[in-house]
């Protein structure tokens, strides 16, 4: 069993109501764990792309892909080949920053992590940061010193590298 390794499944689906329910409900009912799921428009206007991150062993992943492929609203599904995809996650983080020193410490960190300050109030800063989940985790760890008030992460979105694509050519 190859546990602990995050796998990413890219799914092209019909862009219509009920499809997200159908896919997420399948995961629930088959006892597959979803770590994150992102959904949005794809390159074709009547199709949406879901990026699903799962942490399961190889045999289960094969089952996941086959079961998802069976759904009639799913047009294409593939596990992204390990090491051959790019992935990003975005986080919005509201952190405590009551003093001038806090602010300057946070701003320094944000620069190092190539994030942006997108809102400022008297006691807090809101940071936007994009990257791999590891990078986001590392940044969040640094923010513990002053305290995170609110956190919103998008979950992973990803695409296969270069010539390899999960798409339908009509």
């Amino acid at each position: 069993m190859e546990a602990g390794r995050t796998k990413i499944i890219s799914v092209l689906v019909e862009n219509k109501p009920g499809v997200l329910f159908g896919v997420s409900n399948l995961f629930r009912r088959r006892n597959f764990n979803i770590e994150s799921i992102t959904v949005g428009p794809s390159e074709q206007k009547d199709m949406a792309r879901m990026t699903i991150t799962v942490n399961e062993d190889e045999r289960t992943i094969v089952q996941v892909v086959k079961q998802v492929a069976k759904l009639i609203d799913v047009l294409k599904v593939e596990e992204l080949e390990p090491g051959n995809f790019v992935m990003r996650e975005l986080a919005l983080i509201k952190v405590n920053a009551p003093t001038a020193k806090d602010r300057s410490d946070i701003i320094n960190c944000v620069e190092v992590f190539r994030g942006r300050i997108i809102d400022v109030s008297t006691d807090s800063l809101t940071v936007e940061i994009t990257g791999t989940p590891d990078k986001l985790d590392a940044f969040l760890n640094l923010m513990k010193a002053t305290g995170v008030i609110e956190l919103a992460r998008t979950g992973i979105t990803a695409l296969a590298r270069g010539a390899k694509s999960v798409r339908i050519d009509e």
Partner: protein
């Protein structure tokens, strides 16, 4: 383009799919369809007495005929009552289309509509998503014909299954410009699979080298009409054929190479030989836990070839050496062709000798034949009394397992049972559906008293609609299978299994205008079945049996097939 209502568009589209029967119960939110149905000359409506039974009737119709069965109900409780029937069809891969009424999709005169918790509103789309192949909710009249075509296409192709169409009341009654077409829209649905020919040759080599091949024939063989190919394969390989419960009837059980069905309550000969085989050819089966028991000892000596049309079944429960994804009949034909020049029809081998010996030693059918009024004697007698063409359905529990063990099925689509979901109350409505599909063939439901009382109200349907079937109630006054488990696994600590005052089934039948008979000996049983088969009205035969008969031998939960135990 023709101007018509949604209800008319629905019925025209159903007629175009050659639908001749709908099993259903009406209600407020489906009234426009029922109103239009009054004008239909092609579609017979059969009024069920409970929506669950309407769905089982549609499934019985589908499984006896191979055609799509149709059931219909109103919104809310009508729709939710269908759910068990839909789940049953999903588990057993039966093609049915369920039509449900729904509250209006848009407010008319500020009345309530979808999402407002209107009277008799239920989210049947959400509820049935995990138990249907697909479901639809048309929002315009114009899209109805394509949705109906697509629903029938999805239900009946690939691995068949239930499809639901939820019809908001306003969409039923609205007028629109409709083109009644043959158009199908399901671009994400692939029913045809390209068969991997390298796997065919791998399978062929494995079979050629096999010394002890065994064929496991599942429900997929029946769905795919591949019984002839299984027979040819068995002839060519000199291989015994075991079936799953769902595959019962796919191979004639009187054939010398038939070893009966495998499983927790399977034929001990089948279970034993499965453990001895060196190559297993499994066709159209999903390796259900009741068929395989503990997987560690399942066909542990055998290299396995698995043919299934549903790719997701490959490797789901059992890892196999050679998976072949495709329609059973097509794959078997290719495999037979690949074997044709490598093998010629064999004579008896050491393996066929072993099969014969195992059957003589282990098969309960070849052991003693009691003359008392016990399930084995009754079911063996029933086989003698029924013509080969008869269709038998079962309820769920001991009656079902006794039927699997002692009643020999001779033809595909002649043994109809709730395999996957194990729904008590399935057999009687399924028998009604089967009789509608095959009015010239005798249809018999083998029931227990516990199961029969779950759908006995359909006596009103069968009598009123003149659909005569026979119900044999193996009446032991207990919920027998769970009582058996409490007896064997819970130290006889009986809880909630005694049925107490069960109805007098003879009087019950008579109360509905059916015929009621009682048999207290094999001779009386013989006579009662004869009377029932000649009857123009549904007959219930009450057969009181002892309350402590077990289905034996059996494989205790968690054990493997070789650990089947119990004197029999």
């Amino acid at each position: 383009m023709t101007r018509m209502s949604g209800a008319q568009a629905l019925l025209e589209s159903l007629e175009r799919q050659n639908v001749n029967t709908i099993f259903g119960i009406l209600g407020g939110a489906i009234l426009p369809v029922y109103d239009a149905l009054l004008g239909s000359t092609k579609i017979r409506h059969i009024l069920a007495r409970h929506e669950q039974c309407a769905a089982h009737e549609a499934e019985g119709y589908a499984r006896a005929s191979g055609r799509v069965g149709v059931c219909m109900a109103t919104s809310g409780p009508g729709a939710t009552n269908l759910v068990t029937g839909i789940a049953n069809a999903y588990m057993d891969s039966s093609p049915i289309v369920a039509l449900t009424g729904q509250v209006p999709s848009k407010a008319v005169n500020s009345s309530y509509m979808i999402g407002k918790d209107a009277f008799q509103e239920a989210d049947i789309i959400g509820i049935t998503t995990p138990i249907t192949k697909y479901n639809f909710q048309p929002r315009t009249v114009a899209e109805i014909p394509t949705i109906v075509n697509t629903a029938f296409y999805i239900a009946s192709t690939g691995r068949p299954g239930p499809v639901l169409i939820d019809l908001p009341k306003d969409v039923q009654s609205d007028m629109g410009e409709v083109e009644v077409t043959d158009k199908i829209e399901a671009r994400g649905y692939k029913s045809m699979i390209e068969i991997d020919l390298t796997k065919i040759s791998e399978a062929a080599s494995l079979l050629v080298s096999a010394e002890r091949p065994l064929i496991l024939s599942g429900g997929g063989v029946i769905i795919s009409n591949a019984s002839d190919e299984i027979m040819e394969m068995s002839d060519l390989l000199m291989a015994p054929v075991a079936t799953t419960l769902m595959g019962k009837g796919s191979f004639p059980e009187v054939h010398p190479l038939s070893v009966g069905s495998i499983g927790m309550h399977g034929n001990p000969a089948a279970n034993r030989l499965l453990g001895e085989a060196d190559v297993l050819l499994a066709v159209g089966t999903r390796f259900s836990d009741r068929a395989t028991a503990n997987l560690d000892t399942f066909a542990s000596e055998a290299k396995k070839i698995h043919i299934d049309i549903d790719e997701a079944e490959i490797g789901k429960n059992v890892e196999v050496e050679v998976p072949i994804v495709g329609d059973a009949k097509t794959v078997l034909k290719l495999l037979l062709a690949a074997l044709a020049d490598k093998l010629h029809k064999g004579e008896g081998t050491a393996w066929t000798k072993r099969v014969k010996e195992a059957k003589e030693k282990l098969s309960p059918l070849l052991k003693d034949r009691p003359r008392d009024i016990v399930p084995k004697a009754l079911l063996m007698e029933l086989r003698k009394l029924l013509p080969e063409s008869a269709i038998v359905t079962t309820e769920v529990g001991q009656n079902q397992m006794w039927s699997a063990l002692y009643f020999q099925a001779l033809r595909p689509r002649s043994f109809i049972s709730s395999g996957g979901l194990g729904t008590m109350g399935f057999g009687f409505p399924a028998a009604i559906g089967a009789k509608v599909a095959c009015p010239d063939r005798p249809v018999v439901d083998i029931a227990g008293d516990g199961s029969f009382i779950m759908s006995e109200q359909e006596l009103a349907c069968s009598v009123t609609e003149k659909i005569p079937v026979t119900v044999i109630v193996l009446n032991n006054s207990v919920l027998g299978m769970v009582a058996q488990w409490q007896r064997m696994l819970y130290k006889r600590r009986y809880m909630a299994v005694h049925l107490g005052k069960t109805p007098d089934f003879v009087k019950l039948a008579e109360a509905y205008g059916a015929q009621g008979l009682r048999a207290t000996s094999i001779e009386e049983f013989h006579k009662a079945v004869k009377t029932a088969l000649d009857s123009k009205v549904t007959t219930v035969i009450d057969v009181p049996i002892g309350s402590e008969h077990d289905v034996v031998p059996f494989v205790p939960p968690g054990c493997g097939l070789p650990q089947q135990r119990g004197d029999y």
